[in-house]
Protein backbone atom coordinates (compact mmCIF):
# COMPACT_ATOMS: atom_id res chain seq x y z
CA UNK A 1 0.00 0.00 0.00
CA UNK A 2 1.34 3.37 -0.93
CA UNK A 3 0.58 5.16 2.30
CA UNK A 4 2.54 2.54 4.15
CA UNK A 5 5.61 3.23 2.10
CA UNK A 6 5.09 6.92 2.63
CA UNK A 7 4.99 6.38 6.35
CA UNK A 8 8.03 4.20 6.20
CA UNK A 9 10.12 6.76 4.35
CA UNK A 10 9.04 9.39 6.87
CA UNK A 11 10.11 7.21 9.70
CA UNK A 12 13.49 6.73 8.17
CA UNK A 13 13.99 10.45 7.56
CA UNK A 14 13.25 11.35 11.16
CA UNK A 15 15.72 9.38 13.13
CA UNK A 16 15.35 9.23 16.84
CA UNK A 17 19.03 9.86 17.52
CA UNK A 18 18.92 13.12 15.61
CA UNK A 19 16.11 14.48 17.72
CA UNK A 20 18.01 13.37 20.80
CA UNK A 21 21.09 15.28 19.66
CA UNK A 22 18.94 18.32 19.00
CA UNK A 23 17.62 18.09 22.53
CA UNK A 24 21.15 17.88 23.93
CA UNK A 25 22.26 20.89 21.90
CA UNK A 26 19.25 22.84 23.17
CA UNK A 27 19.94 21.88 26.76
CA UNK A 28 23.61 22.78 26.38
CA UNK A 29 22.71 26.15 24.87
CA UNK A 30 20.28 26.88 27.70
CA UNK A 31 22.86 26.00 30.35
CA UNK A 32 25.49 28.14 28.65
CA UNK A 33 23.09 31.10 28.46
CA UNK A 34 22.24 30.62 32.12
CA UNK A 35 25.92 30.57 33.08
CA UNK A 36 26.57 33.72 31.05
CA UNK A 37 23.68 35.55 32.71
CA UNK A 38 24.73 34.43 36.18
CA UNK A 39 28.34 35.43 35.69
CA UNK A 40 27.65 38.63 33.78
CA UNK A 41 28.71 41.14 36.49
CA UNK A 42 32.07 39.35 36.57
CA UNK A 43 32.86 38.72 32.93
CA UNK A 44 31.51 41.94 31.47
CA UNK A 45 34.23 44.17 33.05
CA UNK A 46 36.85 41.72 31.78
CA UNK A 47 35.45 42.11 28.29
CA UNK A 48 35.10 45.90 28.51
CA UNK A 49 38.19 47.25 30.31
CA UNK A 50 36.59 50.72 30.55
CA UNK A 51 34.26 49.25 33.16
CA UNK A 52 37.19 48.41 35.40
CA UNK A 53 38.21 52.06 35.58
CA UNK A 54 34.65 53.33 35.78
CA UNK A 55 32.29 51.06 37.74
CA UNK A 56 29.37 53.34 36.88
CA UNK A 57 29.62 52.17 33.30
CA UNK A 58 29.09 48.62 34.59
CA UNK A 59 26.16 49.74 36.74
CA UNK A 60 24.60 51.47 33.77
CA UNK A 61 24.70 48.26 31.78
CA UNK A 62 23.48 46.21 34.71
CA UNK A 63 20.49 48.56 34.90
CA UNK A 64 19.87 47.96 31.21
CA UNK A 65 19.83 44.25 31.94
CA UNK A 66 17.46 44.74 34.89
CA UNK A 67 15.11 46.49 32.47
CA UNK A 68 15.62 43.62 30.02
CA UNK A 69 14.67 41.10 32.71
CA UNK A 70 11.53 43.08 33.50
CA UNK A 71 10.65 43.22 29.82
CA UNK A 72 11.35 39.49 29.56
CA UNK A 73 8.82 38.80 32.34
CA UNK A 74 6.29 40.98 30.54
CA UNK A 75 7.02 39.30 27.20
CA UNK A 76 6.74 35.79 28.66
CA UNK A 77 3.45 36.67 30.32
CA UNK A 78 2.20 37.92 26.97
CA UNK A 79 3.38 34.72 25.30
CA UNK A 80 1.32 32.56 27.63
CA UNK A 81 -1.82 34.42 26.65
CA UNK A 82 -0.97 35.09 23.00
CA UNK A 83 1.28 32.21 22.05
CA UNK A 84 -0.47 29.45 23.98
CA UNK A 85 -4.06 30.52 24.54
CA UNK A 86 -4.23 32.36 21.21
CA UNK A 87 -5.64 35.50 22.83
CA UNK A 88 -3.68 38.34 21.24
CA UNK A 89 -3.55 41.16 23.80
CA UNK A 90 -2.67 44.67 22.64
CA UNK A 91 -3.05 46.04 26.13
CA UNK A 92 -0.52 44.37 28.39
CA UNK A 93 0.54 47.82 29.62
CA UNK A 94 -2.72 47.73 31.59
CA UNK A 95 -1.50 44.81 33.70
CA UNK A 96 2.02 46.19 33.89
CA UNK A 97 0.52 49.47 35.10
CA UNK A 98 -1.79 47.83 37.64
CA UNK A 99 1.18 46.07 39.20
CA UNK A 100 3.25 49.25 39.12
CA UNK A 101 0.62 51.53 40.67
CA UNK A 102 -0.29 49.02 43.34
CA UNK A 103 3.35 48.79 44.30
CA UNK A 104 3.96 52.52 44.26
CA UNK A 105 0.92 53.26 46.42
CA UNK A 106 1.41 50.40 48.91
CA UNK A 107 5.09 51.13 49.37
CA UNK A 108 4.42 54.78 50.20
CA UNK A 109 1.36 54.19 52.37
CA UNK A 110 2.38 51.04 54.23
CA UNK A 111 5.99 50.30 53.50
CA UNK A 112 5.55 46.57 53.86
CA UNK A 113 8.15 44.05 52.81
CA UNK A 114 9.02 44.75 49.14
CA UNK A 115 8.50 41.16 48.05
CA UNK A 116 5.07 41.09 49.66
CA UNK A 117 4.17 44.31 47.87
CA UNK A 118 5.46 42.95 44.56
CA UNK A 119 3.32 39.84 45.02
CA UNK A 120 0.29 42.03 45.81
CA UNK A 121 1.01 44.03 42.65
CA UNK A 122 0.79 40.78 40.70
CA UNK A 123 -2.45 39.83 42.43
CA UNK A 124 -4.13 43.17 41.72
CA UNK A 125 -3.08 42.88 38.07
CA UNK A 126 -4.50 39.34 38.00
CA UNK A 127 -7.84 40.67 39.24
CA UNK A 128 -7.67 43.21 36.43
CA UNK A 129 -6.90 40.38 34.01
CA UNK A 130 -9.93 38.41 35.16
CA UNK A 131 -12.12 41.50 34.75
CA UNK A 132 -10.86 41.90 31.20
CA UNK A 133 -11.31 38.18 30.52
CA UNK A 134 -15.04 38.30 31.23
CA UNK A 135 -15.93 40.34 28.14
CA UNK A 136 -12.93 38.95 26.24
CA UNK A 137 -14.50 35.48 26.25
CA UNK A 138 -17.19 36.76 23.94
CA UNK A 139 -14.75 38.29 21.50
CA UNK A 140 -12.42 36.80 18.94
CA UNK A 141 -9.46 37.90 16.84
CA UNK A 142 -9.10 41.61 16.22
CA UNK A 143 -12.13 42.48 18.36
CA UNK A 144 -10.49 40.91 21.37
CA UNK A 145 -7.22 42.71 20.64
CA UNK A 146 -9.03 46.02 20.25
CA UNK A 147 -10.85 45.48 23.52
CA UNK A 148 -7.60 44.95 25.44
CA UNK A 149 -6.11 48.00 23.75
CA UNK A 150 -9.04 50.19 24.72
CA UNK A 151 -9.01 48.88 28.29
CA UNK A 152 -5.33 49.81 28.62
CA UNK A 153 -5.96 53.24 27.14
CA UNK A 154 -8.90 53.82 29.47
CA UNK A 155 -6.83 52.97 32.54
CA UNK A 156 -4.06 55.28 31.32
CA UNK A 157 -6.51 58.19 30.99
CA UNK A 158 -8.11 57.33 34.32
CA UNK A 159 -4.82 57.54 36.20
CA UNK A 160 -4.00 60.85 34.51
CA UNK A 161 -7.37 62.19 35.57
CA UNK A 162 -7.22 60.84 39.12
CA UNK A 163 -3.73 62.25 39.66
CA UNK A 164 -3.06 60.05 42.70
CA UNK A 165 -1.04 62.28 44.99
CA UNK A 166 0.39 59.81 47.40
CA UNK A 167 3.99 60.80 47.03
CA UNK A 168 5.46 63.85 45.46
CA UNK A 169 3.23 64.95 42.61
CA UNK A 170 5.32 64.86 39.51
CA UNK A 171 4.01 64.59 36.00
CA UNK A 172 0.32 63.97 35.42
CA UNK A 173 -0.81 60.99 37.42
CA UNK A 174 2.70 59.90 38.34
CA UNK A 175 3.65 58.60 41.75
CA UNK A 176 7.16 59.15 42.95
CA UNK A 177 7.71 56.58 45.65
CA UNK A 178 11.41 56.81 46.45
CA UNK A 179 12.75 56.34 49.05
CA UNK A 180 9.94 53.93 50.00
CA UNK A 181 10.29 51.74 46.95
CA UNK A 182 13.92 50.86 47.03
CA UNK A 183 14.96 47.25 46.98
CA UNK A 184 18.68 47.75 47.27
CA UNK A 185 21.25 50.33 46.30
CA UNK A 186 23.66 47.65 45.18
CA UNK A 187 23.42 47.48 41.38
CA UNK A 188 24.89 43.99 41.22
CA UNK A 189 22.46 42.67 43.81
CA UNK A 190 19.54 44.31 42.03
CA UNK A 191 20.64 42.63 38.83
CA UNK A 192 20.56 39.26 40.59
CA UNK A 193 17.13 39.98 42.09
CA UNK A 194 15.75 40.76 38.66
CA UNK A 195 17.46 37.75 37.15
CA UNK A 196 16.09 35.47 39.85
CA UNK A 197 12.58 36.80 39.40
CA UNK A 198 12.82 36.47 35.64
CA UNK A 199 14.14 32.90 35.82
CA UNK A 200 11.49 31.94 38.36
CA UNK A 201 8.80 33.33 36.07
CA UNK A 202 10.28 31.47 33.10
CA UNK A 203 10.37 28.24 35.06
CA UNK A 204 6.80 28.53 36.34
CA UNK A 205 5.36 29.50 32.96
CA UNK A 206 7.35 26.82 31.20
CA UNK A 207 6.14 24.19 33.65
CA UNK A 208 2.56 25.38 33.16
CA UNK A 209 2.82 25.13 29.38
CA UNK A 210 4.33 21.66 29.59
CA UNK A 211 1.55 20.48 31.88
CA UNK A 212 -1.88 19.26 30.82
CA UNK A 213 -3.07 22.86 31.22
CA UNK A 214 -0.67 23.94 28.47
CA UNK A 215 -1.94 21.19 26.21
CA UNK A 216 -5.52 22.27 26.88
CA UNK A 217 -4.65 25.90 26.11
CA UNK A 218 -3.12 24.90 22.80
CA UNK A 219 -6.16 22.81 21.93
CA UNK A 220 -8.44 25.76 22.66
CA UNK A 221 -6.19 28.02 20.59
CA UNK A 222 -6.06 25.71 17.57
CA UNK A 223 -9.74 24.71 17.37
CA UNK A 224 -12.07 25.83 20.08
CA UNK A 225 -15.01 23.73 18.89
CA UNK A 226 -12.89 20.59 18.70
CA UNK A 227 -11.52 21.34 22.16
CA UNK A 228 -15.07 21.57 23.49
CA UNK A 229 -15.87 18.31 21.76
CA UNK A 230 -12.93 16.84 23.68
CA UNK A 231 -14.67 17.93 26.87
CA UNK A 232 -12.56 21.01 27.58
CA UNK A 233 -14.17 24.08 29.12
CA UNK A 234 -12.66 26.62 26.73
CA UNK A 235 -13.90 29.65 28.68
CA UNK A 236 -12.30 28.40 31.86
CA UNK A 237 -8.93 27.82 30.25
CA UNK A 238 -8.95 31.19 28.53
CA UNK A 239 -9.84 32.88 31.81
CA UNK A 240 -7.02 31.04 33.51
CA UNK A 241 -4.59 32.22 30.84
CA UNK A 242 -5.74 35.81 31.33
CA UNK A 243 -5.35 35.54 35.07
CA UNK A 244 -1.87 33.98 35.03
CA UNK A 245 -0.63 36.22 32.24
CA UNK A 246 -1.79 39.42 33.92
CA UNK A 247 -0.38 38.24 37.24
CA UNK A 248 3.14 37.98 35.82
CA UNK A 249 2.74 41.21 33.85
CA UNK A 250 1.81 42.83 37.17
CA UNK A 251 4.89 41.32 38.81
CA UNK A 252 6.97 42.87 36.03
CA UNK A 253 5.39 46.27 36.67
CA UNK A 254 5.82 45.92 40.43
CA UNK A 255 9.48 45.04 40.22
CA UNK A 256 9.99 47.83 37.71
CA UNK A 257 8.78 50.39 40.27
CA UNK A 258 11.33 49.09 42.76
CA UNK A 259 13.88 49.50 39.99
CA UNK A 260 13.19 53.08 38.89
CA UNK A 261 11.36 54.47 41.94
CA UNK A 262 8.18 55.77 40.36
CA UNK A 263 5.03 54.82 38.48
CA UNK A 264 4.11 57.19 35.69
CA UNK A 265 1.43 56.90 33.00
CA UNK A 266 3.89 57.96 30.32
CA UNK A 267 6.10 55.07 31.39
CA UNK A 268 4.26 52.01 32.71
CA UNK A 269 0.90 52.78 31.09
CA UNK A 270 2.43 53.77 27.78
CA UNK A 271 0.93 51.70 24.98
CA UNK A 272 4.48 51.29 23.73
CA UNK A 273 4.95 48.83 26.60
CA UNK A 274 2.18 46.71 25.11
CA UNK A 275 3.90 46.78 21.76
CA UNK A 276 7.24 45.89 23.34
CA UNK A 277 5.67 42.90 25.06
CA UNK A 278 4.41 41.60 21.73
CA UNK A 279 7.63 42.49 19.91
CA UNK A 280 9.94 40.59 22.24
CA UNK A 281 7.65 37.55 22.40
CA UNK A 282 7.29 37.41 18.64
CA UNK A 283 10.98 38.13 18.01
CA UNK A 284 11.93 35.23 20.24
CA UNK A 285 9.22 33.02 18.81
CA UNK A 286 5.61 32.80 19.94
CA UNK A 287 4.58 29.80 21.95
CA UNK A 288 8.03 29.15 23.36
CA UNK A 289 8.01 31.17 26.64
CA UNK A 290 11.84 31.27 26.74
CA UNK A 291 11.96 33.08 23.41
CA UNK A 292 10.83 36.31 25.03
CA UNK A 293 14.01 36.34 27.16
CA UNK A 294 16.18 36.55 24.06
CA UNK A 295 13.82 39.05 22.49
CA UNK A 296 13.94 41.29 25.57
CA UNK A 297 17.75 41.16 25.81
CA UNK A 298 18.05 42.06 22.17
CA UNK A 299 15.53 44.87 22.52
CA UNK A 300 16.98 46.53 25.60
CA UNK A 301 20.62 46.19 24.58
CA UNK A 302 19.96 47.74 21.19
CA UNK A 303 17.84 50.45 22.76
CA UNK A 304 20.87 51.38 24.89
CA UNK A 305 23.31 51.17 21.99
CA UNK A 306 21.04 53.44 19.95
CA UNK A 307 20.73 55.98 22.78
CA UNK A 308 22.98 58.53 20.98
CA UNK A 309 20.20 58.76 18.37
CA UNK A 310 17.96 60.36 21.01
CA UNK A 311 14.22 59.95 20.61
CA UNK A 312 14.82 58.66 17.11
CA UNK A 313 16.11 55.46 18.67
CA UNK A 314 12.66 53.95 19.08
CA UNK A 315 11.88 54.49 15.42
CA UNK A 316 15.19 52.84 14.58
CA UNK A 317 14.64 50.06 17.09
CA UNK A 318 11.17 49.14 15.92
CA UNK A 319 12.29 49.32 12.28
CA UNK A 320 15.13 46.97 13.10
CA UNK A 321 12.79 44.62 14.92
CA UNK A 322 10.42 44.67 11.97
CA UNK A 323 13.24 43.98 9.55
CA UNK A 324 14.42 41.01 11.58
CA UNK A 325 10.91 39.68 11.78
CA UNK A 326 10.47 39.92 8.04
CA UNK A 327 13.84 38.42 7.22
CA UNK A 328 14.40 35.77 9.81
CA UNK A 329 11.16 35.06 11.51
CA UNK A 330 8.50 35.51 8.90
CA UNK A 331 7.12 32.27 10.29
CA UNK A 332 6.60 33.78 13.70
CA UNK A 333 5.13 36.91 12.20
CA UNK A 334 2.86 34.80 10.07
CA UNK A 335 1.53 33.16 13.17
CA UNK A 336 0.81 36.51 14.78
CA UNK A 337 -1.11 37.59 11.70
CA UNK A 338 -2.93 34.29 11.75
CA UNK A 339 -3.90 35.04 15.33
CA UNK A 340 -5.13 38.50 14.34
CA UNK A 341 -7.32 37.40 11.50
CA UNK A 342 -10.98 36.90 12.32
CA UNK A 343 -11.64 33.25 12.81
CA UNK A 344 -13.15 31.59 9.81
CA UNK A 345 -16.51 30.16 10.68
CA UNK A 346 -15.99 26.48 11.43
CA UNK A 347 -16.17 24.29 8.36
CA UNK A 348 -19.77 23.45 7.79
CA UNK A 349 -20.41 19.80 8.23
CA UNK A 350 -22.57 19.42 5.17
CA UNK A 351 -19.77 20.54 2.91
CA UNK A 352 -17.69 18.07 0.96
CA UNK A 353 -14.62 16.92 2.80
CA UNK A 354 -11.45 18.60 1.55
CA UNK A 355 -9.66 16.45 -1.00
CA UNK A 356 -7.18 14.25 0.76
CA UNK A 357 -4.01 12.83 -0.58
CA UNK A 358 -4.85 9.19 -0.41
CA UNK A 359 -3.72 6.02 -2.00
CA UNK A 360 -4.97 5.31 -5.49
CA UNK A 361 -7.56 2.80 -4.35
CA UNK A 362 -9.03 5.20 -1.80
CA UNK A 363 -9.32 7.98 -4.35
CA UNK A 364 -11.15 5.70 -6.71
CA UNK A 365 -13.46 4.64 -3.95
CA UNK A 366 -14.18 8.26 -3.11
CA UNK A 367 -14.97 9.04 -6.74
CA UNK A 368 -17.38 6.17 -6.96
CA UNK A 369 -19.08 7.52 -3.84
CA UNK A 370 -19.44 10.98 -5.29
CA UNK A 371 -20.86 9.68 -8.53
CA UNK A 372 -23.33 7.53 -6.67
CA UNK A 373 -24.77 10.54 -4.84
CA UNK A 374 -27.73 12.14 -6.51
CA UNK A 375 -27.22 15.86 -6.86
Amino acid sequence: MSHRSRLRSRLRSRSRSRSRTARLVKLGGALLALALLLGLPYWLPLLVPAMQQNPFLLYKWLNVLVAANVLAILGMSWDLLGGYAGQISFGHSLFLGLGAYTTAILSVLYGWNPWLIIALGGLVAAVGGLLVAAPALRLHGPYLSLMTLVAALAFDRLMRWLKPEVGIPGAEGAILCVPHCVLTLDAVLKYYYSLGLMLLTALLLWALTRSRVGLALEAVRDDEAAAQAAGLNAAKYKTLAFGVSSFFAGIAGAFYVYHIGSAAPADVLNLQRSVEAIAVAVLGGMGTIFGAIGGALFFKVFEELLRPAGTLRFALLFSLALLILLLVRSGALGRLWAGLRPRPSPPREGAEAPPTVASASETEEAEVEVKAKPS
Binding site: H3, R4, R6, L7, R8, R10, L11, R14, R16, R212, V213, L215, A216, E218, A219, D222, D223, A225, A226, A227, Q228, A229, A230, G231, L232, N233, A234, K236, L240, P347, E349, G350, A351, A353, P354, T356, A358, S359, S361, E362, E365, A366, E369, A372, K373, P374
Partner: protein
Protein backbone atom coordinates in the same frame (compact mmCIF):
# COMPACT_ATOMS: atom_id res chain seq x y z
CA UNK B 1 -41.33 2.81 24.82
CA UNK B 2 -40.31 3.05 28.40
CA UNK B 3 -37.98 5.78 29.52
CA UNK B 4 -36.18 3.15 31.56
CA UNK B 5 -33.98 1.84 28.80
CA UNK B 6 -33.91 5.06 26.76
CA UNK B 7 -30.40 6.42 27.18
CA UNK B 8 -31.16 9.43 25.02
CA UNK B 9 -34.53 10.92 24.24
CA UNK B 10 -34.87 13.41 21.43
CA UNK B 11 -38.20 15.19 21.80
CA UNK B 12 -39.77 17.24 19.02
CA UNK B 13 -36.49 18.84 18.07
CA UNK B 14 -36.55 21.63 15.48
CA UNK B 15 -33.86 23.82 14.00
CA UNK B 16 -34.00 26.26 11.09
CA UNK B 17 -31.14 28.08 9.40
CA UNK B 18 -32.69 31.20 7.95
CA UNK B 19 -35.60 29.90 5.93
CA UNK B 20 -34.23 26.39 5.77
CA UNK B 21 -35.80 23.89 8.12
CA UNK B 22 -32.82 21.59 8.74
CA UNK B 23 -34.49 19.53 11.47
CA UNK B 24 -38.21 19.65 12.05
CA UNK B 25 -40.20 18.16 14.88
CA UNK B 26 -37.93 15.16 15.18
CA UNK B 27 -38.45 12.68 18.01
CA UNK B 28 -36.79 9.35 18.74
CA UNK B 29 -35.15 7.37 21.52
CA UNK B 30 -31.74 5.75 21.64
CA UNK B 31 -31.82 2.61 23.75
CA UNK B 32 -29.09 1.68 26.13
CA UNK B 33 -26.55 -0.68 24.53
CA UNK B 34 -27.82 -0.56 20.97
CA UNK B 35 -26.21 0.42 17.68
CA UNK B 36 -28.61 2.77 16.01
CA UNK B 37 -28.26 3.63 12.34
CA UNK B 38 -29.25 7.09 11.17
CA UNK B 39 -29.59 7.30 7.44
CA UNK B 40 -30.67 9.98 5.03
CA UNK B 41 -29.46 11.67 1.88
CA UNK B 42 -27.26 14.75 1.62
CA UNK B 43 -28.66 17.65 3.56
CA UNK B 44 -31.24 15.53 5.39
CA UNK B 45 -30.18 17.08 8.69
CA UNK B 46 -28.14 14.25 10.21
CA UNK B 47 -25.14 16.38 11.14
CA UNK B 48 -27.41 19.17 12.35
CA UNK B 49 -29.09 16.65 14.61
CA UNK B 50 -25.71 15.71 16.11
CA UNK B 51 -24.94 19.40 16.53
CA UNK B 52 -28.20 19.86 18.41
CA UNK B 53 -27.62 16.86 20.67
CA UNK B 54 -24.07 17.95 21.53
CA UNK B 55 -24.96 21.58 22.14
CA UNK B 56 -23.08 23.02 19.16
CA UNK B 57 -26.38 24.57 18.03
CA UNK B 58 -29.28 25.51 20.26
CA UNK B 59 -32.55 24.00 19.05
CA UNK B 60 -35.41 26.36 18.15
CA UNK B 61 -37.83 23.98 19.83
CA UNK B 62 -37.70 20.62 21.54
CA UNK B 63 -35.68 18.91 24.24
CA UNK B 64 -32.78 16.51 24.52
CA UNK B 65 -32.90 14.20 27.54
CA UNK B 66 -29.83 12.15 28.41
CA UNK B 67 -30.03 9.58 31.20
CA UNK B 68 -33.20 11.23 32.42
CA UNK B 69 -31.55 14.66 32.57
CA UNK B 70 -32.56 17.57 30.39
CA UNK B 71 -29.35 18.65 28.65
CA UNK B 72 -30.95 21.04 26.17
CA UNK B 73 -28.89 24.21 25.90
CA UNK B 74 -25.94 22.89 27.87
CA UNK B 75 -22.50 23.91 26.59
CA UNK B 76 -20.76 21.27 24.51
CA UNK B 77 -18.01 20.46 27.00
CA UNK B 78 -20.55 19.78 29.72
CA UNK B 79 -22.50 17.42 27.49
CA UNK B 80 -19.28 15.63 26.56
CA UNK B 81 -18.37 15.26 30.21
CA UNK B 82 -21.86 13.95 30.92
CA UNK B 83 -21.09 11.10 28.53
CA UNK B 84 -21.91 11.98 24.91
CA UNK B 85 -18.99 12.07 22.49
CA UNK B 86 -19.02 12.74 18.82
CA UNK B 87 -16.72 12.00 15.89
CA UNK B 88 -16.89 14.75 13.28
CA UNK B 89 -17.90 13.99 9.71
CA UNK B 90 -14.89 15.92 8.45
CA UNK B 91 -11.99 14.80 10.64
CA UNK B 92 -10.86 17.68 12.75
CA UNK B 93 -7.47 16.91 14.27
CA UNK B 94 -5.32 19.41 16.15
CA UNK B 95 -2.79 19.73 13.37
CA UNK B 96 0.11 21.10 15.39
CA UNK B 97 -0.05 18.34 17.96
CA UNK B 98 1.13 14.77 17.67
CA UNK B 99 -1.36 11.98 17.20
CA UNK B 100 -0.90 10.91 20.81
CA UNK B 101 -1.34 14.48 22.07
CA UNK B 102 -4.55 14.70 20.03
CA UNK B 103 -5.92 11.79 22.01
CA UNK B 104 -4.48 13.03 25.29
CA UNK B 105 -6.41 16.29 24.96
CA UNK B 106 -9.61 14.32 25.42
CA UNK B 107 -8.26 12.90 28.68
CA UNK B 108 -7.59 16.26 30.34
CA UNK B 109 -9.99 16.98 33.21
CA UNK B 110 -11.34 20.52 33.55
CA UNK B 111 -10.67 20.80 37.25
CA UNK B 112 -7.27 22.41 37.69
CA UNK B 113 -6.59 20.36 40.75
CA UNK B 114 -8.67 17.40 39.69
CA UNK B 115 -6.80 14.15 39.69
CA UNK B 116 -6.24 13.56 36.02
CA UNK B 117 -3.91 10.72 36.75
CA UNK B 118 -0.19 10.99 36.32
CA UNK B 119 1.36 11.91 33.00
CA UNK B 120 2.50 8.32 32.73
CA UNK B 121 -0.98 6.95 33.34
CA UNK B 122 -2.36 9.28 30.70
CA UNK B 123 0.32 8.23 28.22
CA UNK B 124 -0.57 4.61 28.88
CA UNK B 125 -4.25 5.24 28.30
CA UNK B 126 -3.42 7.09 25.08
CA UNK B 127 -1.43 4.12 23.80
CA UNK B 128 -4.20 1.77 24.80
CA UNK B 129 -6.72 3.78 22.80
CA UNK B 130 -4.43 4.29 19.79
CA UNK B 131 -3.88 0.55 19.63
CA UNK B 132 -7.45 -0.39 20.01
CA UNK B 133 -8.77 1.85 17.25
CA UNK B 134 -5.99 0.51 15.04
CA UNK B 135 -3.92 3.65 14.70
CA UNK B 136 -0.67 1.88 15.53
CA UNK B 137 -1.40 -0.81 12.98
CA UNK B 138 -1.04 1.80 10.24
CA UNK B 139 2.68 1.53 10.68
CA UNK B 140 4.74 -1.44 9.58
CA UNK B 141 5.47 -4.02 12.24
CA UNK B 142 9.06 -2.98 12.95
CA UNK B 143 8.21 0.67 13.46
CA UNK B 144 5.69 0.24 16.22
CA UNK B 145 7.39 -1.68 18.96
CA UNK B 146 6.87 1.22 21.36
CA UNK B 147 3.12 0.86 21.05
CA UNK B 148 3.31 -2.20 23.29
CA UNK B 149 1.43 -1.73 26.51
CA UNK B 150 4.28 -3.36 28.34
CA UNK B 151 6.49 -0.33 27.69
CA UNK B 152 7.24 2.28 30.33
CA UNK B 153 5.27 5.11 28.76
CA UNK B 154 8.14 6.63 26.85
CA UNK B 155 8.23 4.05 24.14
CA UNK B 156 8.94 4.63 20.51
CA UNK B 157 5.33 4.55 19.34
CA UNK B 158 5.01 6.48 16.07
CA UNK B 159 1.82 8.06 17.41
CA UNK B 160 3.95 9.95 19.91
CA UNK B 161 6.17 11.42 17.21
CA UNK B 162 4.02 11.98 14.19
CA UNK B 163 1.58 14.75 13.38
CA UNK B 164 -1.89 13.85 12.10
CA UNK B 165 -0.97 15.04 8.60
CA UNK B 166 0.88 11.78 7.94
CA UNK B 167 -2.35 9.85 8.33
CA UNK B 168 -4.37 8.63 5.35
CA UNK B 169 -8.13 9.25 5.32
CA UNK B 170 -8.84 6.02 7.18
CA UNK B 171 -6.27 6.98 9.80
CA UNK B 172 -7.84 10.38 10.32
CA UNK B 173 -11.19 8.70 10.93
CA UNK B 174 -9.59 6.36 13.42
CA UNK B 175 -8.04 9.33 15.17
CA UNK B 176 -11.42 11.04 15.26
CA UNK B 177 -12.89 7.97 16.92
CA UNK B 178 -9.93 7.68 19.28
CA UNK B 179 -10.47 11.28 20.42
CA UNK B 180 -14.13 10.54 21.07
CA UNK B 181 -13.48 7.25 22.85
CA UNK B 182 -10.89 8.94 25.07
CA UNK B 183 -13.65 11.01 26.67
CA UNK B 184 -15.05 7.67 27.89
CA UNK B 185 -18.56 8.23 26.51
CA UNK B 186 -21.75 6.30 27.34
CA UNK B 187 -23.11 7.40 23.98
CA UNK B 188 -20.93 7.72 20.90
CA UNK B 189 -22.16 9.63 17.86
CA UNK B 190 -20.30 8.72 14.66
CA UNK B 191 -20.91 10.99 11.68
CA UNK B 192 -20.38 9.02 8.44
CA UNK B 193 -17.45 7.01 9.73
CA UNK B 194 -17.40 4.84 6.61
CA UNK B 195 -17.22 7.57 3.99
CA UNK B 196 -14.24 7.15 1.72
CA UNK B 197 -13.08 3.89 3.27
CA UNK B 198 -12.08 0.80 1.32
CA UNK B 199 -14.20 -2.34 1.94
CA UNK B 200 -11.53 -3.92 4.15
CA UNK B 201 -11.39 -0.76 6.23
CA UNK B 202 -15.17 -0.73 6.54
CA UNK B 203 -14.99 -4.27 7.96
CA UNK B 204 -12.28 -3.30 10.41
CA UNK B 205 -14.23 -0.27 11.61
CA UNK B 206 -17.45 -2.27 11.94
CA UNK B 207 -15.62 -4.72 14.16
CA UNK B 208 -14.38 -1.85 16.31
CA UNK B 209 -17.88 -0.43 16.61
CA UNK B 210 -19.22 -3.82 17.75
CA UNK B 211 -16.40 -4.06 20.23
CA UNK B 212 -17.22 -0.64 21.66
CA UNK B 213 -20.80 -1.79 22.12
CA UNK B 214 -19.59 -4.96 23.84
CA UNK B 215 -17.91 -2.86 26.47
CA UNK B 216 -21.19 -1.17 27.28
CA UNK B 217 -21.28 1.86 25.05
CA UNK B 218 -24.23 2.91 22.95
CA UNK B 219 -23.63 4.07 19.40
CA UNK B 220 -25.44 6.13 16.79
CA UNK B 221 -23.92 5.71 13.33
CA UNK B 222 -24.77 8.05 10.48
CA UNK B 223 -24.53 7.06 6.85
CA UNK B 224 -25.99 8.01 3.51
CA UNK B 225 -27.38 4.59 2.90
CA UNK B 226 -27.92 1.23 4.43
CA UNK B 227 -25.12 -0.44 2.54
CA UNK B 228 -22.58 -0.55 5.32
CA UNK B 229 -25.11 -0.48 8.12
CA UNK B 230 -27.40 -3.43 7.35
CA UNK B 231 -25.36 -6.00 9.21
CA UNK B 232 -24.04 -3.63 11.84
CA UNK B 233 -27.01 -1.88 13.37
CA UNK B 234 -29.85 -3.10 15.55
CA UNK B 235 -32.26 -0.41 14.46
CA UNK B 236 -32.45 2.22 11.75
CA UNK B 237 -34.03 5.64 11.63
CA UNK B 238 -34.45 7.21 8.21
CA UNK B 239 -34.37 11.00 8.09
CA UNK B 240 -35.62 12.96 5.14
CA UNK B 241 -35.81 16.76 4.90
CA UNK B 242 -35.23 16.99 8.63
CA UNK B 243 -38.12 14.67 9.47
CA UNK B 244 -38.34 11.06 10.50
CA UNK B 245 -39.42 8.98 7.54
CA UNK B 246 -39.19 5.53 9.05
CA UNK B 247 -37.93 3.63 12.08
CA UNK B 248 -37.36 -0.08 12.74
CA UNK B 249 -35.05 -2.99 12.20
CA UNK B 250 -32.98 -2.82 9.01
CA UNK B 251 -35.32 -5.32 7.35
CA UNK B 252 -38.47 -3.49 8.37
CA UNK B 253 -37.12 -0.20 7.14
CA UNK B 254 -36.02 -1.68 3.83
CA UNK B 255 -39.58 -2.98 3.34
CA UNK B 256 -41.22 0.27 4.43
CA UNK B 257 -43.35 1.72 1.61
CA UNK B 258 -42.41 5.31 2.37
CA UNK B 259 -38.74 4.41 2.27
CA UNK B 260 -39.22 2.43 -0.90
CA UNK B 261 -40.98 5.36 -2.46
CA UNK B 262 -38.06 7.57 -1.53
CA UNK B 263 -35.73 4.97 -3.00
CA UNK B 264 -37.70 4.96 -6.22
CA UNK B 265 -37.75 8.74 -6.26
CA UNK B 266 -34.02 8.40 -6.23
CA UNK B 267 -33.44 10.47 -3.15
CA UNK B 268 -32.08 7.60 -1.14
CA UNK B 269 -29.53 5.41 -2.76
CA UNK B 270 -29.79 1.71 -2.74
CA UNK B 271 -26.85 -0.54 -3.17
Amino acid sequence: MSAMNALLQVQRLSKAFGGLQAVSDLSFDVHEGEILGLIGPNGAGKTTLFNLITGVHKPDRGRVIFQGQDITGWPTYKIVNAGIARAFQIPRPFRHKTIAANVEISLIPNGLFARGGSRRARARRVREICRRVGLCALWPEGARRGCDLSGDGDGDCPCRRELPDVLPQAGLRKLEIAKAVATDPKLLLLDEPFAGLAPAEVEELSALIRELREEGRTLVVVDHNMRGLMRLVDRVIVIHFGQKLAEGTPDEVARDPAVQEAYLAGTIEEE
